[in-house]
Symmetry: C2
Subunit: 204 residues, 2 copies
């Protein structure tokens, strides 16, 4: 087709790669590629270098499994002596930690599961950092576990699974108040709603 | 601020760089960065490499000034012996060439100005490939010049400037029919409207 010949190969390759990103369709990808062609080479190369080194320069915190710089383990939150280590908040993804930090009302520590239980997608407890969570609870002084999984089907399933497994101990298990819009995505919740949900957390 | 500590430096740097792209705000940039963190390293590195080599592997066609692979000059369109070299279409940007190619109704050749006259932004004829256009018209056998600048203020100013400078020759000067939505952007025009506008072009 004529149109394919009109786009130089290096540009077409970039368009194809950008189209693979979430929320970026072929038109946005073209627009981005041609924007980059017009931009200062320095900026474009820096962006390229950041991408190449992204995985190399980051790793997972050995304590909470959140993303951290490769040379910082445990992560800044886990290493912070001012945080309340009695209070552990379980989230699905690193972005959820950011959302809760942004609400400015949580002083405890985190545990990142890296997903939620979803039998349809073949994701069971063993695919997540759930055993690590149980080990942590057994071996440390945690008094309250706040389950902050997403308010959707797999998030609820994960919350139920965790709370059932831990129900015979004297650990207080809570979950975020149902102020969250059901079916939504935790990381997009506004700060005020999220702060309300934290304050109004209920025993489960 | 606490929230800044919660994002590892390599990730924050990538978020800042992605936010600088058009149409990508800080929230989309975070989401993209964390998507890339979850993606296969291979894919992310390939995207990074494409960005780094983008400028090195592309250059401008010495004939039409459109973007071409560094090792292909003149570009595929200029080198195509089946194209009608009597018919020259002037556009502002490389993306506009793609939009017209996509309409499938144009068999001539192109000239890319790399912008439009805009005194407010300090862009006059000398900042564009306008002298190159006049040289081309003087030294080749072009019978018709189709001015396909954007249907907005600076596009119209550019069209007027070019047609005035060339009005004393016997070159036929046309512009795309006013089927284009005024104030819009040429590259987003749908194929049918663009094909209509090409067919209905009027002498100016």
């Amino acid at each position: 087709m004529k149109i394919i010949g009109a786009i130089p190969r290096p540009v077409q390759r970039l368009i194809d790669q950008l189209s693979w990103l979430p929320g970026i369709g072929p038109k946005s990808a073209s627009r981005l590629a041609f924007f980059l062609l017009r931009s200062k080479e320095e900026h474009v190369v820096q962006l390229g270098e950041s991408l190449i080194s992204l995985k190399r320069d980051t790793s997972f915190c050995s304590v909470c499994h959140n993303i951290t710089s490769s040379d910082v383990d445990p992560c800044i939150i886990c290493a912070d002596v001012n945080r309340d280590t009695d209070l552990l908040c379980v989230v699905e993804e690193p972005l959820d930690v950011l959302a809760i930090e942004r609400s400015g009302t949580f002083e405890g520590i985190y545990h990142v599961l890296h997903g939620a239980i979803s039998p349809v997608d073949g994701i069971g407890p063993d695919e997540l950092k759930i055993n690590e969570l149980f080990n942590k609870i057994r071996t440390s002084e945690i008094k309250e576990l706040i389950i902050a999984t997403n308010p959707n089907l797999s998030g609820e399933a994960t919350a139920m699974y965790i709370s059932k497994q831990l129900s015979d101990g004297d650990l207080r298990i809570t979950r975020l108040a149902r102020g969250l819009p059901v079916g939504g995505d935790l990381e997009y919740t506004d700060e005020v709603t999220l702060a309300r949900a934290l304050e109004g957390r209920q025993d489960m």
